[in-house]
Symmetry: D4
Subunit: 210 residues, 8 copies
Amino acid sequence: LRKHFPEIVYAPGKTEGELRKIVHSFLARDLPLMITRLDPERAEGLLREFPGLRYHERARILTRERPPEGRGLVAVISAGTADLPVAEEARVAAEYFGNRVRTFYDVGVAGIHRLWAVREELLSARALIVVAGMEGALPGVVAGLVDRPVIAVPTSVGYGASFGGLAALLTMLNTCAPGVAVVNIDNGVGAAYFASIINHLVEEENGQKG
Amino acid sequence: LRKHFPEIVYAPGKTEGELRKIVHSFLARDLPLMITRLDPERAEGLLREFPGLRYHERARILTRERPPEGRGLVAVISAGTADLPVAEEARVAAEYFGNRVRTFYDVGVAGIHRLWAVREELLSARALIVVAGMEGALPGVVAGLVDRPVIAVPTSVGYGASFGGLAALLTMLNTCAPGVAVVNIDNGVGAAYFASIINHLVEEENGQKG
Amino acid sequence: LRKHFPEIVYAPGKTEGELRKIVHSFLARDLPLMITRLDPERAEGLLREFPGLRYHERARILTRERPPEGRGLVAVISAGTADLPVAEEARVAAEYFGNRVRTFYDVGVAGIHRLWAVREELLSARALIVVAGMEGALPGVVAGLVDRPVIAVPTSVGYGASFGGLAALLTMLNTCAPGVAVVNIDNGVGAAYFASIINHLVEEENGQKG
Amino acid sequence: LRKHFPEIVYAPGKTEGELRKIVHSFLARDLPLMITRLDPERAEGLLREFPGLRYHERARILTRERPPEGRGLVAVISAGTADLPVAEEARVAAEYFGNRVRTFYDVGVAGIHRLWAVREELLSARALIVVAGMEGALPGVVAGLVDRPVIAVPTSVGYGASFGGLAALLTMLNTCAPGVAVVNIDNGVGAAYFASIINHLVEEENGQKG
Amino acid sequence: LRKHFPEIVYAPGKTEGELRKIVHSFLARDLPLMITRLDPERAEGLLREFPGLRYHERARILTRERPPEGRGLVAVISAGTADLPVAEEARVAAEYFGNRVRTFYDVGVAGIHRLWAVREELLSARALIVVAGMEGALPGVVAGLVDRPVIAVPTSVGYGASFGGLAALLTMLNTCAPGVAVVNIDNGVGAAYFASIINHLVEEENGQKG
Amino acid sequence: LRKHFPEIVYAPGKTEGELRKIVHSFLARDLPLMITRLDPERAEGLLREFPGLRYHERARILTRERPPEGRGLVAVISAGTADLPVAEEARVAAEYFGNRVRTFYDVGVAGIHRLWAVREELLSARALIVVAGMEGALPGVVAGLVDRPVIAVPTSVGYGASFGGLAALLTMLNTCAPGVAVVNIDNGVGAAYFASIINHLVEEENGQKG
Amino acid sequence: LRKHFPEIVYAPGKTEGELRKIVHSFLARDLPLMITRLDPERAEGLLREFPGLRYHERARILTRERPPEGRGLVAVISAGTADLPVAEEARVAAEYFGNRVRTFYDVGVAGIHRLWAVREELLSARALIVVAGMEGALPGVVAGLVDRPVIAVPTSVGYGASFGGLAALLTMLNTCAPGVAVVNIDNGVGAAYFASIINHLVEEENGQKG
Amino acid sequence: LRKHFPEIVYAPGKTEGELRKIVHSFLARDLPLMITRLDPERAEGLLREFPGLRYHERARILTRERPPEGRGLVAVISAGTADLPVAEEARVAAEYFGNRVRTFYDVGVAGIHRLWAVREELLSARALIVVAGMEGALPGVVAGLVDRPVIAVPTSVGYGASFGGLAALLTMLNTCAPGVAVVNIDNGVGAAYFASIINHLVEEENGQKG
Ligand SMILES: Nc1ncnc2c1ncn2[C@@H]1O[C@H](COP(=O)(O)O)[C@@H](O)[C@H]1O
Ligand SMILES: Nc1ncnc2c1ncn2[C@@H]1O[C@H](COP(=O)(O)O)[C@@H](O)[C@H]1O
Ligand SMILES: Nc1ncnc2c1ncn2[C@@H]1O[C@H](COP(=O)(O)O)[C@@H](O)[C@H]1O
Ligand SMILES: Nc1ncnc2c1ncn2[C@@H]1O[C@H](COP(=O)(O)O)[C@@H](O)[C@H]1O
Ligand SMILES: [Mg+2]
Ligand SMILES: [Mg+2]
Ligand SMILES: [Mg+2]
Ligand SMILES: [Mg+2]
Ligand SMILES: [Mg+2]
Ligand SMILES: [Mg+2]
Ligand SMILES: [Mg+2]
Ligand SMILES: [Mg+2]
């Protein structure tokens, strides 16, 4: 059924043996491979056994190899260091799904001038993945600047009344700026997948027309 | 900035006088008009004063006139009678934003065969708005059947542990099926806007190519 | 003890008779008077009986008379129509406490250019009361633009996952921009009081010096 | 009082010494024994001391020996690897309580065709234990396919807005499909017990009649 | 698919016209009819138009006529006056689904001797529906007394920290007594349906054997 | 001010050095000493340095020596092994505060006959501390049996929807049986203190009279 | 069983007819009578029919007649007008249960000097019922001043982040001052009952001794 | 833009390498430096490499050197040992921002006389940072004693129903005493920053006048 995009393997809950078997079977069938939420220790074990793989440390993703250059731009936007693991998960996944990706990683709402400065560049993206923890206000502000789909990803980054990402999640759901839809807390992969569907749709309909 | 789509007027919190002034000013400038979340009583008052308007009762939306036939299909999917106000809000708004809309209004997960039966028809939509209250499982199941963007709208319909739509919202955020993004509870208009951006993007990029 | 500012009477939970007695006693002693959260029906009754009073409808506040022109500027900032009752509560109360007030009532984050345009004017305020419902992102953005105390007031305006102002409250508590402190949901009076303390402190210390 | 089924020993909160004493006393009286929620480290210690025991690793259950072949079919259904510990807890416990068990472990709602394929086979079960984390939509869909008691077990598997199983729990409580009742998050044993009561009831009433 | 039991019509969200059409169509096809959650005002309108119907006031259910005497006993147990609407909803629905019902309506845990006194009588039921608001402790205590399926129904009855039935719901999910499964807050119909499936299962398997 | 009872030292958040200084100063002034919530590792260090002390392992309390035999009975009641740490905290603290204590440690509501059996013995206590995790139903049932103050202590014992003791806390607050008041989750010491105040009050007033 | 105190009739959920029958039966048997949570409309109906009764408007309680002068002092303490309905419920109920009651109704923590001023007078009470909404800090401060049992009653008074009394409830459960136990939000009757048990205990033990 | 105060580096989420690079770059440019939320292990590594730095252990802050003596008094008030980490974070940060700081570290509400005793001394502060965990009642009581801005900092200190600081946060937001504004749970740095803005404002306006 779901034929457009290669598979995603979710590491948590799988034993080492199960992961090894999965990697082996993908390589044997020469399929693209992406294992997400993989901790460094288990990644190291797999890298030792299967030398062709590549581990994206901050994104905690294991892939087979560099994906081919994608088509159609997806922007990944975030505010600061702490949200990088989720932003990078989105970036690596989006590239894996065949998109071209551009990152904007230091444009938080507390220093709105930095976002303002890149405003024109944002307009070239077909879809924008906006990653934000703590207050989670960034997606709403971005959506006010562009008229492209903004996929908001709350992160569990924060402390106190951030309640593991709940604060950012609620902010994003309540944004006054239309053009925002939200995925689960920390779900960088889900945002990348959603952006890819949109990008793919454009390609497909263009193809039918062209 | 936000130039692609006509304006949306949100009725709650506005006085009768303010609404009247808004309608007058839109008509005077011959602009498209859509007032959302308008209760029947206040709608009646405006209809009496401005005879050209039209009130969509279940959607609780006041518009100026029938919008021109749209381009690019958007599907609006829901399970039953109780979710109709939100589904209709999405439908009316999507038409207002210039999309062609097709509705599937009786396809809940508790009778999965009905959804299964229309599976092929869903594939012709560029974006799918899936409206569900109570358990909110429908968007995830739909996303497993199609590879198009699914915009999930939880509704506040339900009782007991539905907690005003929270249960449906959480279900949708946690769906295992990739390809789902979520808007606020009861936010039919926001889902319609998001679908419209996607649809518009395809048109625009097609236009550039064609 | 609390000598700097005149008293505040909180209407909810008081009977008509109790309110009438309070008004009478304040007038008899020629004291300043402010009754908050007073519904129009009960206000009307009091206005009929005590003709010198004034009812601020949107703020739902009853005061004795226009307060004397205040000293030291306090800004009251909000995004749209729906938050006006709380913003107006803050404005009327701040004037009652002897501040000069300037309002900025249409500068939401979804249209960031409007806020950007008034940036210089905000700098002349000694304290800024920023009122926002739904996503509640405005105070953080304002605090990024000025280096004056920003008093954030979440409002209960919104629907769905706004949970009666909880979403806005959490956003404000989690803002990345330093310089923001938060009062209770809908607490316009509390924000006005806090701004007044700051303003008064400057006056007092200036006085001691000058 | 509660005579039908053998005892369940719940390991958390018990010291090593207490567990050893319990095992000893059960063996001495030649009673069936099942210790649940037992971590591998403590299990190992008991296995060393009492060689006849058996540890079910994924289920985290220690039993005395293989139970005799049960009567009356109970189905255990789940979606994927991550929910296996809870599904296995249900399976091992159901066998311990004297039921025949059949497992369906890869039938999530995101790939509804796999569930559809086994639909007929589900009908042979007297009770169905459906285990699901994250969105928790599986029990409702299963209940739409069969007219047998569906015992829903939410799991704490997930991240972000799954809130430790709360999302799945709410989904299951709000399901539109009648025929679903819910036990506590991760309570595989409780579901097995409930299924056993139903199964036993049929046996008993059959016996009285036959 | 779901063939064993007659249909349930859920009134909330349906217009008067829709309800009238539904009643008409059921009567025309001579089908059993049960409309739940129907307020007295709308019930009265329907009773005037369709004289053969019967309105169960406390249960807020409209049925066509007395159902035939059922087979297999279902017990409905509750503590006091305030929970009666939900208990009665369960009773009327269980009779509609073809069960024989016996009610125990004054046996709360605060006066445990009254429950103790009817202990033997409870044992004759095939399934026990236990309805409780506020603290919700009754199902756990009942399950400790009998070894039959206990279907727990939390109610929204209570105040303060009962949070609309949440307290009772959590109590029931956390009960230490095995043999309890829970349905949604106030869901008397769902509990009746679940009890009916169990009862029907016994009848069916008995039939096959006998 | 608070003269009746000796001091309580709360260990969490204190450094080793601070604890050592506290113990030293109490011993130097020959004061009674009770340190609560002390982990075994830190207890061991203090025991090595100050040989006269005593560590109550399950209660996680360090005291100076056996307190003198108390006057006036306090009962401590709980259901099972898992709640013992909190029940023991209450017992040790109640003895430290000069009460005579009797424990009833295996009387959960799921086996109501065991509680029923000790009913008469409970009546001799001046105050009853009832400790319960998970569903937390025990205090309400006890309060239905005796007409003495029941001090309910929810514990954080449980899993899933027990939410760290929240479920038990809500149950206790909502109990229908009058005569129950509640302290914080796991607050065995607080319950002991409250029981001691009651017991002391009786002694004091007796003394005045006698 | 529960013999010490006369009965309490809880009005919500009872029909007019049921209430009338209850009053009639109590009067016929010449029993003391207290109906709580009775709205003025229904009270008026009963007063018309049964002339000897008395309705306590703010407490929303109907009683038969003035109770005899009680023995042993119970203090009822609260901060302001808004909490009066709950404080009065506690006062009327405590008198009904045979206690002597003294009220302190204007001693909130924001003006700590007023509480300080009555400090000595508080010491004469055997139990103190402290009623507080909003922040709910009063019981902890009172418990720091006296060494008698403080029964804390959170009220649902407040707005915004008071969440229907949840804020006050949590404050009271977390108080650092030992000697506080908490009843349900708005449960003035429950607090009065608990205080009465304590007071009765003193009388009883005094009696046995004297 | 934000020119008044030196930068704050937030350690969580930064790698060792990133932190080292930041320290190096600050030292190279001879800028003031403050790294917050730095655990002792990572602090030790930086101290070894950059000998001029200073680590404030309880505050978990790394600074470059003692800041110059500040101007304008800020008070930091807390109740006990457990809140010291947050209180110290506030103190160190306030000194870093150029304020003079005075601490009051043993003045909890459970022993109100200690706070009462220092009442006069509090009046000399321009802003008061009040740090409190558990019940969080301290800021409201302080605000009742002084008419200066009270910045309330809830801490995550506590257990049970403190829910990670939520209880204290709600208490502070709901305080009846005007003059309190709240920052995030554990946000000592944010409170210090806010106090600094106020203090700076006084200095600045004084300067303009003088
Ligand atoms: N039903 C709705 N739900 C959510 N947002 C809405 C809705 N209707 C209008 N809006 C948004 O609210 C804004 C209009 O607010 P206002 O200027 O107060 O009328 C528009 O920018 C819309 O994006
Ligand atoms: N995994 C489990 N989940 C829930 N309840 C359990 C579990 N295992 C055992 N129990 C219950 O806990 C009780 C045993 O508690 P204990 O006497 O402390 O071993 C039994 O009555 C079981 O019903
Ligand atoms: N205001 C109240 N709040 C809490 N419980 C109450 C209240 N009034 C009565 N009750 C309890 O509710 C029971 C009466 O319920 P009922 O038999 O339905 O009238 C009594 O046992 C009382 O303990
Ligand atoms: N302890 C803290 N709590 C809250 N915010 C902080 C803290 N320390 C630093 N910040 C903020 O976090 C930002 C620094 O983030 P970063 O650039 O990732 O180091 C600064 O602008 C500070 O305002
Ligand atoms: Mg946009
Ligand atoms: Mg899909
Ligand atoms: Mg600023
Ligand atoms: Mg079914
Ligand atoms: Mg049982
Ligand atoms: Mg009792
Ligand atoms: Mg005390
Ligand atoms: Mg003050």
